[in-house]
Symmetry: C2
DNA sequence: CTGAAAGCGCTTACAG
DNA sequence: CTGAAAGCGCTTACAG
């Protein structure tokens, strides 16, 4: 391996100082346009590539962002967070930054072990992607580097967060059902299970309230136990004309159940989901659902974290990103 | 933000030189055990975290590996490569290395644009994950840094590669069907489409040959067109007793087709898949299939690339990683 | 417009 | 066993 080209090499070739080369390559003031051009050209010819490590050390910036995802969200059937990570990766690159992924193992989360990227000063900030345990949140708070929560938040923490608008998405989707003539509308999901299920339920409820539809207890259908494990869905004794499901996967199960019970979707009963994941199009008919705006969530997160790196005092609080209804074939106008 | 602690700070506190601190913290020779302990303790107390950028510059190593995945393999329904990336990330961390993901856009691949991590010397080596275009391969070959192909290979390239053993996996799976009494066995897949479909076909064919079963042309069932788009599967006029599908997703479609035609799986007909992805358990009955050993593929890739960084002359050629049959309920003994 | 000096925080090679 | 010196490749602040 021959020695890498440095700014000094370029400088020597033209008979100029390395300071001038640095200025030229970084488009700084203080070099004539002519010389600038000449230097850039030569740099290109010589195949110069900047040594980021040197720049990093000098500036005290790594140009890396750590993205921490709890292990439990990274299974083969849960591609959502990895999708988000992809977007983060792409957007970061456009800003001259790079993502470093850290899968937080269950053991490390339990033992409150901080990621290695922290101890090695590998990153300028952290994006915590996906709900982490309370005690771990407290440890994270102690870190004196910029950080934010993505796709979850913690009421008692002062860490900024970016979440999808579960409440408004479910509200809009339910409004749509009402506009299609539905008034017997059930909600499927354990509303004590997670904050997104709960917020989606509340959006659904708001729509009912606005339309003077009474919330009937038997129209809140449970889908999972305390541990989050799916349970068999029990259909209400009087079938509603539509179901709002807290996620596409549950909508998928529900449609199977309805079919088994001899009902046709959407002819006998409409069903909507949430997430627009693989289950939305695996279901027959394909589900009308809410798509989370992954791209915007990623971009918002990056803007915020970069701002915080630039100015550690800046703060954004809780930012909410709106989703988008995807209309398909699982709703019938009645 | 208060100034970060350096080795010098620790040194000053004990009244020793920063050289000694460096040696102690790195467990190098030349410091008494006593002093070493004292230094480590103090470092911990003071919350010392090494400045990797400085180390990097000094050693000329970034401790990062670039992982390049073509965009077309990163859709929401294709979590496989992101699974692999997760494993790479985890294993790398155990070696004090970190992965930097680069999604290669279709445009960049077309225009032969190298990733930014290359121009910024952000990484010590590259793992190319997933088949890239021939012309791009040629550009990659020019890079004077360690690199390897993961999950694909190129006959005309001298770049080392690590692939899953498609041939042997399909061979074993077909052997299993034969042991279960099957002799009319069809293969589903366009055998001119990709090298893995082709290699899996050849493994299937080897098993037939070994068992003196004639390969019948109508038992090679097409599943996709030239562009790789799935087409409607046409069942052979005489139904075989078993189908070997080139992937789980196609097995899923096939089972649907069989059910629509009034056949029961596995009672009337057995079906096996390949990949053990989400479709394997989405299918009813759950599919017997071959699981790619993602963990081992990642580990092998990392070992190889780290060895190459250490010794650029080292070469491994084409390494094959064996898969594992997952037995489920889609095969009947006859 | 251009450059000499200094320094970012480490580690290696050498001297004691 | 311990440390002074040198240097990795950049950039900033300052002098000319």
């Amino acid at each position: 391996m021959n020695k890498p080209i440095t700014m000094r090499d370029i400088a020597n070739r033209i008979g100029v100082s390395s300071v001038t080369v640095s200025k030229a390559l970084n488009d700084k003031e203080g070099v004539s346009d002519e010389l600038k051009e000449q230097i850039k050209l030569l740099a290109h010819e010589m195949g110069y590539r900047i040594n980021t490590a040197a720049k990093s050390m000098r500036e005290g910036l790594t140009y890396n962002i750590g993205v921490v995802i709890p292990e439990r969200f990274t299974g083969p059937n849960q591609s959502f967070y990895m999708q988000v990570y992809q977007e983060i990766s792409k957007s970061l690159e456009a800003h001259g930054y790079y993502g470093i992924l850290h899968i937080l193992s269950a053991a490390d989360e339990e033992e409150l072990a901080l990621p290695r990227i922290y101890y090695e000063r590998k990153v300028d900030g952290f994006i915590l992607l996906g709900q982490i345990n309370k005690p771990y949140i407290e440890v994270i708070e102690e870190i004196e580097q910029p950080k934010l929560f993505l796709d979850f938040y913690d009421e008692h923490s002062h860490i900024d967060s970016i979440v999808t608008d579960n409440f408004y998405g479910a509200y809009e989707l339910t409004n749509y059902l009402v506009r299609q003539g539905h008034r017997q509308i059930a909600y499927v999901g354990n509303i004590y299970s997670t904050s997104s299920i709960q917020d989606r339920f509340l959006g659904y409820y708001k729509s009912l309230l606005e339309h003077n539809i009474r919330l009937q207890p038997e129209y809140i259908v449970n889908d999972r136990d305390e541990q989050g494990a799916y349970i068999d869905i029990e259909l209400p004794s009087v079938l509603p004309t539509a179901f709002v499901c807290n996620c596409d996967q549950v909508a998928y199960s529900l449609v199977q159940k309805l079919k088994q019970s001899g009902y046709k979707v959407p002819d006998d009963c409409s069903v909507v989901g949430f997430d627009n994941d693989i289950y939305a199009t695996l279901t027959e008919p394909h589900l009308t659902t809410v798509e989370v705006n992954i791209k915007q969530m990623a971009q918002t997160a990056i803007q915020s974290i970069l701002k915080k790196i630039d100015d550690p005092a800046s703060s954004f609080g809780r930012t909410v990103v709106q989703g988008k209804i995807i209309y398909r074939d699982s709703v019938k106008k009645i």
